[in-house]
């Protein structure tokens, strides 16, 4: 068993969280391989976002284990999990509205994490080059000096993705990255995601089946906090249980 575990970048075993007796996630197991793009689907309230919250430390688990490259994440603080190489994008765009796009990316630049590191942080050439590079990937190269508050919804989503990219995480978790976007923005985002998932592991929560088919290596279906089905897109789409609770008739 331990040999096969090494093949996975993320091992989630028996993960459980209970809120006053209500088990939002209940004895969940799943494994993510390096460079895999795993999509989690399931009806509302299935516990999809809670699973991401548990992995990145936002919610404390009641039991079980989450191991990332052999490190137990459940015992770590959020910032330590980030340093270990896990990045998380929230469902609603979560950017620093009072700061400019440049400053948003600068804060995410992986250097000077400690208090005194932040005091001594200098905006040198390496920082500026990297920010310019990321800004181009996320289509915001002409908005660097704009306050994030003035960006459109889609641009904010891109900015948040950029803030993750600049940290170059080994595991990227995206919660409904195309929700609320216009059609044009959706196409651009799909292109963006396809580019950035190339050389890292990704966990995506998404409802858009067309989009899921495009990007998923494997699909995990959650229902009432438990694993309902897992496998390729074609496999789960054919599963009668999945059709019953989620995909519909």
């Amino acid at each position: 068993m331990s040999d096969s575990k090494d093949a996975f970048i993320l091992t989630v075993e028996d993960l459980t969280v209970s809120f006053d007796g209500f088990k939002a996630v209940n004895g969940l197991n799943f494994y993510v391989e390096p460079n895999e793009c795993r999509v989690i689907i399931g009806p509302n309230g299935a516990g999809k976002t809670t699973v991401l919250d548990l992995i990145c430390g936002r919610t404390k688990a009641t039991g079980g284990s989450v191991q990332f490259k052999g490190q137990e994440l459940l015992k770590m603080r959020e910032d330590q999990i980030v340093h270990a190489g896990v990045g998380r994008k929230f469902q609603n765009p979560s950017v620093y509205e009072d700061l400019t796009v440049f400053e948003n990316l600068e804060i995410s630049y992986p250097r000077g994490y400690s208090v005194f590191g932040a005091l001594a942080f200098r905006r040198d050439q390496a920082v500026r080059d990297r920010i310019a590079e990321i800004a181009e990937i996320i289509f915001l190269q002409n908005h660097l000096q704009e306050k994030a508050a003035y960006l459109s919804h889609g641009q904010k989503q891109w900015l948040e993705i950029g803030m993750l990219l600049i940290q170059d995480p080994e595991l990227l978790m995206l919660d409904e990255p195309v929700a609320g976007m216009s059609v044009a923005e959706r196409v651009k985002t799909a292109e963006l995601l396809n580019r950035i998932i190339a050389d890292r592991s990704v966990i995506v929560i998404e409802h858009d089946m067309k989009f899921v088919e495009d990007i998923a290596t494997r699909v995990t279906v959650l229902h009432q906090g438990k694993l309902l089905a897992e496998g390729s897109m074609a496999h789960v789409q054919a599963d009668p249980k999945v059709i019953e609770v989620y995909l519909g008739h």
Partner: protein, 308 residues
């Protein structure tokens, strides 16, 4: 510190201090109930809470003077009329304050804190201008004076007992109001999900105003009750504010039972410590313990674990 006392002595000390603690407990409950509604349910910090209590106390003082002068025959019952009036006056002022001030600041809790502090300063000065800087006391009706002998050595002051009964009745009334009335249902719905409550046709603005008003009204009643055991000055309200907030936070904001439990433990601890130490040290130690526990368990004694 216990070594100097025999077991028998210790027991009666605990019994006596325990009773003093029960009166303190009633006072804490009365102070905290209004705040538990406003802070616990609405999340609003009302730093002028103490002044709403004092307003109730001054209303009681005025009513007592009126009865003394014009209706001495009915003096025995003036307190109940004063209490009702205190509720109405403090509640009405509360609703005006909600409408002019609080409702503009629901999204800025820290600013609410500053604005209500300003309100408390204004009310204090108003009290000082109207009633003078000195403390005033009311005449307690005859039937409330004296004490009930329980055993040979233990006597229970009737006014203390009365305040206790009052605290319990008001708690029960609020419980019924919160969990059995339509208003209570609406308040709880608004707390749980404001947008949804709005959507199903609850007038959330009116509910907020009414909630704030009732919280202030209860503070007014608490102030009325205080006149039975102490005198009232323009700045008396400020003395209570820290204790009151600690009681509510320690109990776990939003939990009525928690508020009562925390009022009980804080008052008992303080009054028992008071026997062995000076009053100020007893208070320091009790408050320090409360603050210390809150640092370890910031959600207070009773709090729901919610899915965020």
């Amino acid at each position: 510190m216990f070594a100097d006392y025999s077991w028998g002595e210790l027991l009666s000390i605990f019994a006596m201090q325990g009773f003093a603690g029960l009166i303190l407990f009633s006072v804490f409950v009365l102070m905290a109930l209004g705040l538990a509604i406003i802070f616990g349910q609405m999340g609003v910090i009302n730093m002028a809470h103490g002044e709403f209590m004092i307003l109730g106390a001054y209303v009681t003082y005025l009513v007592s003077r009126l009865f003394e002068t014009y209706m001495p025959a009915l003096f025995g019952i003036y307190f109940f009329i004063a209490m009702a009036l205190a509720f109405v006056v403090a509640g009405a002022l509360g609703m005006v304050v909600e409408w002019t001030l609080i409702r503009r600041l629901y999204k800025r809790p820290l600013d609410t804190l500053l604005a209500t502090w300003g309100l408390s300063l204004i009310l204090q000065q108003l009290f000082r201008s109207v009633f003078g800087p000195r403390e005033v006391g009311v005449t307690i009706p005859q039937w409330m004076m004296g004490s009930l002998p329980l055993t040979d050595t233990i006597e229970v002051p009737i006014n203390g007992l009365f305040v206790m009964v009052l605290a319990m009745s008001i708690s029960a009334a609020i419980y019924v109001l919160m969990f059995r009335s339509r208003w209570g249902l609406q308040v709880r719905a608004v707390v749980a999900n404001r947008t949804m409550a709005d959507a199903v046709g609850i007038n959330t603005e009116r509910t907020d105003r009414l909630t704030f008003g009732i919280g202030c009204g209860v503070a007014g009643v608490a102030g009325a009750a205080f006149t039975m055991i102490g005198s009232t000055g323009p700045t008396s309200g400020q003395l209570y504010i820290v204790d009151t907030f600690l009681v509510v936070v320690f109990g776990g904001a939003g939990s009525l039972i928690g508020t009562i439990a925390s009022a009980f433990s804080i008052s008992q601890a303080q009054s028992i410590l008071e026997f062995f130490l000076s009053g100020s040290m007893a208070k320091v130690l009790t408050l320090l313990a409360v603050v210390g526990i809150l640092m370890v368990r910031p959600q207070g004694l009773f709090a729901l674990k919610l899915r965020k």
